[in-house]
């Protein structure tokens, strides 16, 4: 579910399986020769000199984007009335950012074209792959920034003036994905070109090809002829209007349009000798061997840590953290530990006892203990404005109260109603000091992420109230955070709370 720890040496590497054979790739390239405004005899004269399979590396960052955006857009009617539409947007979607981790030069591949799904583990050396260059940490930062931008863009799509905007990013996966491509180098009348075929779906992704010279020459002639007529006519009319009663503004626009057309067409048709999808070889040094930059420890980190081994602060046991799990129990002393990239923190926790009603109703069944982050929060709302607000029976959850965020690997659409219910009810918890035997679900969300979700929980609750929220100013303070294992009885596919 949520992966927080993107340490350099723990980046998972996966690959797509190549499904296209050499023969199919060759036929795809030859079909591509005949399409578009390429040289007409390319399919006859073009000679494929090399055709080989290579895996290209891509950084992929998947995150759940959550945002609340409020504001308005205005437009003026013909009568002069200003119409203001107020909006309240709630975003809760998955965002994916990808970036090519090697230089593909003129081949121009910058982003991964394949959707997640169907990947297999990548085994180094088992396929011909380009080496991933650059730092994973830097790539992760770029991914976060870009996803933040995507969330903001999605939230403020319809809104001209924002009065409230809060975005949250819950990272899910950061990984290195290898995608197979067939590289076809071919020559045509002394020139050397390249085409790239997707190794999974068999489509041409990009590359370079000689363009149709005749078509380009004709396009150049056509554009300059049109430009010449526009410029000549407008100049003549400006000097001496003659029988034409056309406004001067139109004549000037015609003149400028003609000049712009000629200026744009000349470089476009002159340089358009090949199809180049995108990308450049400006950074020629990037073709030298790419190396992964290891994470640099700061002086402070070096001074405060004797070694990079992570140890339990209570018993000193070395922490062996399973991949993806961010809070795990110490094997020796069974304390809960929040393991981040460089530190290990002790997490206080409680186990709630199932109440009498639940135990009686579910007699003979053992509950599953689902971990929740429990925050003591003080939400002090200083300013609130909503359009079309009506009184409802929904309780106010601002002020001091406990907020609950599910930390287990349970789909959010299932756990979110629990979180709201627990936060509204703030049930009395009877601690089970003796501890109980049972299934304790793994904690897959760390404190930072849960804290962000707490704020989002409040904002979402406010937006779901009748009326359109416009302004919300508040102070948000978290006093205490701990894990609370709450018993739930699993019945077929549903859960019944034990408190």
């Amino acid at each position: 579910m949520v992966l927080e720890r993107s340490v350099e040496d723990l980046i998972s590497e996966i690959q797509y399986k190549a499904k296209i054979t050499r023969g199919v790739a060759d036929r795809t390239v030859r079909d591509w020769f005949t399409k578009g405004v390429k040289a007409p005899d390319l399919s006859r004269e073009g000679v494929v000199t090399e055709l080989y399979l290579v895996y290209l590396p891509f950084w992929r960052f998947v995150a759940q984007g959550k945002a609340v955006a409020c504001g308005y857009s205005e437009y003026t009617e013909k009568t002069g009335n200003v119409i203001r539409n107020i909006f309240e947007e709630l975003i809760d979607e998955e965002f994916i950012w990808t970036e090519c981790a090697c230089d593909t030069g003129k081949c121009g591949i910058t982003k991964l074209w394949l959707d997640p799904g169907g990947e297999v583990p990548y085994v180094r050396g088992s396929v011909v792959s380009m080496d991933a260059g650059g730092s994973a940490i830097e790539a992760s930062k770029r991914g976060r920034e870009e996803v933040h931008r995507m969330i903001k863009e999605a939230a403020a799509k319809r809104i001209q003036v924002l009065t409230l905007e809060k975005t949250f990013l819950i990272p899910k996966v950061f990984e290195l994905v290898y995608a197979p491509v067939w590289i076809a180098h071919y020559s045509y009348k002394g020139g050397d070109y390249t085409a790239i075929v997707d190794g999974v779906r068999g489509e041409v992704l990009g590359g370079t090809a000689p363009n149709n010279l005749t078509a380009r020459t004709r396009m150049m002639i056509l554009t300059f002829t049109a430009g010449g007529i526009m410029i000549g006519s407008s100049i003549a009319m400006l000097i001496h209007p003659g029988p034409y009663q056309i406004s001067e503004l139109f004549q000037i626009i015609l003149l400028l349009l003609g000049i712009a057309m000629c200026m744009a067409a000349y470089p476009a048709f002159k340089e358009g000798r090949t199809f180049v999808s995108s990308g450049s070889m400006q950074h020629i040094l990037a073709l030298s061997p790419a190396t992964r930059v290891p994470k640099q420890l700061t002086d402070n980190e070096i001074l405060n840590h004797e070694s990079t081994l992570l140890k339990c602060p209570v018993c000193g046991e070395v922490v062996e953290q399973p991949w993806g799990e961010v809070v795990s129990a110490c094997k020796k002393c069974h304390h809960l530990l929040d393991v981040t990239a460089n530190t290990v923190k002790l997490v206080p926790y409680d186990v709630a006892k199932p109440d009498l009603l639940a135990r009686t109703a579910m007699k003979g069944m053992d509950p599953e203990y689902i971990p929740f982050w429990k925050f003591e929060v003080d939400f002090n709302v200083t300013d609130r404005l909503a359009g079309g607000e009506t009184k409802t029976g929904l309780p106010d959850i601002s002020g001091k109260r406990s907020y609950y965020i599910c930390a287990a690997d349970i789909p959010r659409y299932v756990s979110e109603p629990w979180e709201i219910d627990l936060t509204i009810r703030n049930p009395e918890i009877v601690e089970d000091f003796a501890g109980r035997e049972g299934t304790y679900l793994t904690i897959l969300m760390n404190q930072n992420t849960a804290r962000k979700l707490t704020e989002f929980l409040y904002l979402r609750y406010e937006t779901e109230k009748p009326g359109i929220l416009q302004v919300l100013r508040y102070n948000f303070q978290v006093d205490n955070a701990r894990i609370l294992y709450i018993p739930y009885y699993k019945e077929k596919t549903s859960y019944i709370p034990g408190i």
């Binding site: 007409p40 005899d41 004269e45 090399e50 290579v54 895996y55 593909t104 030069g105 003129k106 081949c107 180094r124 050396g125 088992s126 396929v127 011909v128 792959s129 380009m130 080496d131 590289i183 180098h185 009348k189 002394g190 020139g191 050397d192 390249t194 370079t208 000689p210 149709n212 010279l213 005749t214 078509a215 380009r216 020459t217 004709r218 150049m220 002639i221 056509l222 300059f224 002829t225 430009g227 010449g228 007529i229 410029i231 000549g232 006519s233 100049i235 003549a236 009319m237 001496h240 003659g242 000629c262 000349y266 048709f269 002159k270 000798r273 070889m281 020629i284 073709l287 030298s288 061997p289």
Partner: protein
């Protein structure tokens, strides 16, 4: 391939390298000769500015096979590359020397087993050899290109390079532009019928572009427009 105790595969190391017989100066000369060569009427006459030249040893798997009673040597790159000309490297068998200490050698990242399904004959041996390649960058107008020169044999792998075209673009633009300006001015002053004349001229331009010197006759265009 041997594994180290903690499960990390041991790095692939070249057993030797082909001696680099061509120095930087000679490599640049070869590149310049190729660009000026009569065989390659593809590079424009504009000034070519040579940039950095780097000698890199590319790791190659050298497979010795016996195929149909003959000894065959096949080379395949041992690291991922998008450069052209390296997939089926041909070289004369010369003595392999130890890899120079200060050599810039790319790490081998591909196991030899990857290539075995595509090789013919009976396996007689395999080894990892570094082949010296000069990467020479050059600039034509505002674009930067790269050429690879084999440091052992002097063979050129041109890759992406500028292409000379038979079209004379300035002449094309002016030939289309000036008559149209004059004709349209005349049409405004005298008679709109001159616009009809302009349209006729446009059709002639489109179909007989060579007649007006728009296409350089040194590199004639094919009948089919290529």
């Amino acid at each position: 391939m041997a594994d180290t105790p903690n499960g990390i595969p041991a790095p692939l190391v070249c057993s030797g390298a082909a001696a680099s017989l061509i120095d930087e100066e000679r490599a640049r000369e070869i590149a310049g000769e190729w660009l000026d060569g009569e065989k390659n009427p593809v590079v424009p006459d504009e000034t070519i500015q040579f940039g950095k030249a780097v000698l890199i040893y590319y790791p190659f798997w050298k497979f010795s096979r016996e195929d149909g009673g003959e000894d065959v040597i096949v080379y395949r790159p041992a690291c991922g590359t998008l450069l052209s000309g390296l997939q089926d490297l041909q070289r004369e068998e010369t003595r392999v020397v130890p890899v120079p200490k200060d050599a810039n050698i790319l790490p081998a990242t591909v196991f030899s087993t990857v290539y075995l399904p595509e090789l013919h004959g009976i396996a007689r041996g395999e080894e990892l050899v570094g082949i010296p390649l000069w990467m020479i960058s050059y600039k034509v107008k505002n674009s930067i290109y790269m050429m690879v020169v084999n440091g052992e044999s002097g063979l050129v792998y041109p890759g992406w390079h500028p292409v000379k075209e038979p079209a004379v673009w300035k002449r094309t633009a002016l030939t289309a532009f000036i008559p149209m300006v004059l004709l349209s001015m005349t049409a405004v002053y005298l008679s709109p019928w001159f616009f009809i004349l302009a349209a006729g001229l446009l059709i002639i331009f489109l179909y007989r572009s060579r007649m007006f010197g728009m296409v350089n006759t040194k590199y004639l265009e094919g009948k089919d427009g290529s």
